[in-house]
C-alpha cells in the first residue's frame, strides 16, 4: 500500500502543477503578448508591505521610472505607491479555451506589476511563462499521447502478426533508435516547412516528436505481445474461435497497458524538453506566441545573457515538472535513472538504457 500512496502523492503534485498552467490566464496578471515599450527589460519588482514603518493593509509596489542619468536602468518612485488588488479585472482571456473571463488573481491600477520582470518589448515575464507552459506542456502531452498510441499500434501489429511485418517494423525501429535523438529530431525538422504560422508549427512539432519517439514503445509493446500471445488464456480463446480483433482487444491490449503507461510517464517531460529545444533553436513555435523554448531563445544574444538574468527564469519552469514526472515514474517502480541494463552478448542495438534515446534527461 506504500507504493499506492506514493503514486497518489506524486499524482496530486503533478495535478497541482498542471492546474497552475491550465489556469494560466487567471494566474497571470496580463495578456502575454501585450507590450509596454516604456518598460523594456524591467527587472523583477519588489513587493512592499510597509512604508515609513507603517504596515499597509494591502501589499503594494512602487511604480518604476528611469534612474536619473540613465536610459535603461529603472528605479522605484517612492512617491507613487500602487496597491495590489486581488481578483481584479483585467485583460480578457479564455479559460480552457472557451470560458471568456476578465478576472485575474491579482492586478494593479495605474502601473503594471512585473513580478518576474519584463522582456525586450515590455511584456510580462510571469504571464509569458505561465501561458508558454500551456503550449509546451500541451506539445509534450500530445506528443507522448501520439507516440504511445502509435507505438502501441505498431508494436501490437508486429508482435501479433509476426513474419515479414514484424521484421520490417522492427528493423525500422532499430534504425530510428540508432541515431542520436537530437540529430534525428533536427533531421526530421530540417525537411519540414520552416516559416509557418504558430498553429501549424505546433502541429509540426508534434508530428516530429511522434515520428522520433515511436520506436521504443513499439519495441517494448512487441515484447509484451509476443509473450502474451503464447499464454494459455489466449490460446484457449483462440481455440474457442475468437477472431484476431477480439483477441487483441480483449486479451492482448490490456496486458500492454502498464508498459504504455510507464512509457508515457517517462516520455512527457522528455517531449516537453524536446519542444523547448526546437523552439529555442528557432525551429519550433515562433513568436509572438510564447513557449518555454522560444522565451529562452533571446538568451542567444550575448548582451541579454550578461545584463538581464531574469530572462533565464523560463528555463527553471520545467524543473518542477521533471521532479514530478520522475517521482511518479519512480513510484511506478520504473527507476528512470537506473533502467536495467543486462549484460549483452554482441549485436548493435538493444532495448536497454531506456533513458538514452530519445531521452534528453541524461
Amino acid at each position: 500500500m506504500m507504493r499506492r500512496r506514493r503514486i497518489r502523492r506524486w499524482l496530486v503534485a503533478l495535478f497541482v502543477l498542471h492546474a497552475g498552467v491550465v489556469l494560466a490566464g487567471f494566474l497571470a496578471p496580463y495578456d502575454p503578448v501585450e507590450q509596454d515599450r516604456q518598460h523594456a527589460y524591467l527587472p523583477p519588482m519588489r513587493i512592499h508591505f510597509s512604508e515609513h514603518g507603517h504596515i499597509h493593509a494591502r501589499p503594494f509596489f512602487y511604480a518604476q521610472r528611469l534612474r536619473e542619468g540613465s536610459f535603461e536602468e529603472f528605479t522605484e518612485d517612492p512617491s507613487n505607491a500602487i496597491p495590489i488588488h486581488f481578483f481584479s479585472s483585467g485583460a480578457r482571456y479564455r479559460l480552457l479555451g472557451f470560458v471568456s473571463l476578465r478576472v485575474h488573481l491579482f492586478g494593479a491600477d495605474g502601473a503594471r506589476l512585473y513580478l518576474l520582470g519584463s522582456d525586450g518589448f515590455g511584456r510580462d515575464q510571469l504571464s509569458r511563462i505561465l501561458c508558454g507552459g500551456q503550449i509546451s506542456l500541451l506539445a509534450g502531452l500530445l506528443g507522448a499521447g501520439c507516440v504511445v498510441f502509435l507505438g502501441g499500434l505498431l508494436g501490437t501489429a508486429a508482435g501479433f502478426y509476426g513474419g515479414w511485418r514484424d521484421v520490417l517494423l522492427m528493423r525500422m525501429a532499430e534504425l530510428f533508435l540508432a541515431l542520436p535523438w537530437l540529430y534525428l529530431l533536427l533531421a526530421l525538422r530540417a525537411f519540414l516547412p520552416l516559416a509557418v504560422s504558430p498553429s501549424r508549427a505546433f502541429l509540426l512539432v508534434i508530428v516530429v516528436l511522434a515520428a522520433v519517439g515511436w520506436a521504443r514503445p513499439a519495441r517494448l509493446v512487441r515484447g509484451v505481445v509476443l509473450s502474451v500471445k503464447e499464454r494459455d488464456f489466449v490460446r484457449a480463446a483462440r481455440g474457442f474461435g475468437a477472431g484476431d480483433a477480439h483477441l487483441v482487444r480483449r486479451h492482448i491490449r490490456p496486458e500492454t497497458r502498464s508498459v504504455l503507461l510507464t512509457q508515457a510517464t517517462v516520455l512527457v517531460p522528455q517531449f516537453v524538453l524536446a519542444e523547448m529545444t526546437l523552439s529555442f533553436l528557432g525551429l519550433g513555435i515562433p513568436e509572438p506566441v510564447a513557449s518555454w523554448g522560444n522565451l529562452l531563445a533571446i538568451l542567444q544574444q550575448y548582451s541579454v545573457l550578461v545584463s538581464y538574468w531574469w530572462m533565464y527564469l523560463p528555463a527553471l519552469a520545467i524543473v518542477p515538472f521533471f521532479v514530478g514526472y520522475q517521482g511518479l515514474a519512480n513510484a511506478l517502480q520504473v527507476d528512470v535513472a537506473t533502467p536495467k541494463i543486462e549484460g549483452k552478448r554482441g549485436g548493435i542495438l538493444h532495448d536497454e538504457g531506456a533513458l538514452y534515446s530519445p531521452a534528453p534527461i541524461d
Binding site: 540508432a178 542520436p180 540529430y183 533536427l186 533531421a187 525537411f191 528512470v336 535513472a337 541494463i341
Partner: protein, 324 residues
Amino acid sequence: MRYLLRRMSQMIVLLMGVSILTFLFSTLAPGNYFDEMRLNPQISAATLASLRAQYDLDRPLPWRYARWVKSVAHGELGYSFAYNSPVAPLLWIRARNTLLLTLTAMLLAWGLALPLGIWSAESSGHLADRFISLATATLLVIPELVLALGLLILAARSGWFPTGGMVSVGFAELPQLGKLRDLAMHMALPVSALVLSALPVLVRHVRAAVAEAMGAPFFRATVAHGIPRGRLLYRYALRAAANPLISLLGFSVGALLSGSLLVEMVMSWPGLGPLLLEAILARDLYVVIGGVLFSTIFLVCGNFIADLLLYWADPRIRAGGNAR
C-alpha cells in the same frame, strides 16, 4: 575474427539504412536551396531552372541517391550549395571539434563516475552515499538546456570563463603552452555542462552494478581472503560489474553526441551543431544528411568499441559470441 567481420557488416547495413532514411525524409521537404532566389527579380526563372538542373535537384530520388552514393565513394558526401564545396571536408573540420568536446567530456564523466559510484556503493546507506544520491537526484532533474544556459550566465556574469567560441582572438600568436591553456579555458564550460548532465546516470549505474557485485558470494570470499580494500573494489568488484557498464559506455556515446549538439549551439562551439542548424535553415540538403550520417558513424563506432571492450573483458562472450 568472424565476430569482428559480422559486426562490421552490421555497421555498414545500418549506415546504408540511415542514409536511405534521411534521403526519404528529404523528399518531404517543400522547396530547396534555390527557392529563396525566386524572390529576386533579377534572377530569371530560366536561370533557376538551370541551377536546379546543374545540382540535379530536378532528378528523381533514386537517381539522386545513386549519385550521392557515388560521391560518398569518392569521399565527398555530396555537395554543399551554401559553401560551394564538397561536404566531407566541411564536416571533417567541424567533426574534429565535436569529437574533441565529446571525448574529453566522456573521459572526464567516466573518470568521475567510477570512483564516485564505487564510493557510493561501498558506503551504502552512510553519509557519503546519501550525499552522492542527493546530488545525482538533483542533477537528474536539471535538463541539459537549462544547465548549459545557467552555466553560461554564470560565466558571463562572473567573467571566469570565456563564453563562446573555441579560441580567443590572437590565438595564432600565442606560445604553445598558451594555446593549450586558451583552448582549455574555452572548453571548460561546454565540457562541464556535458559532464554534469551525463554524470548522474553513470554514477547510478556504477553504484548499482558494483553493489550487485559486492553482494555476490565470490566477493565475500575475497573479503575473507584479506585482500586490501582498494584492490578489492577496483580489481575484483569493478571487474565483475564491468559487463553492464561497458554496454552503458556504448549508450553514453549517443547521449553525449546529442548533448554536445545542443551545448555547441548554446555555447557557439564550432562543432557539427552550429553547422547543422545553419544548413537546416538554409535547406543545404547534403550538409544535413552528412551531419546526421557523421553522428551515426560516431555512435556506431562508440558501440563498436564498447563491443570490443566487452569481448576483451568478458570471457563468456569470447566463448559464446561466435556461436550466435
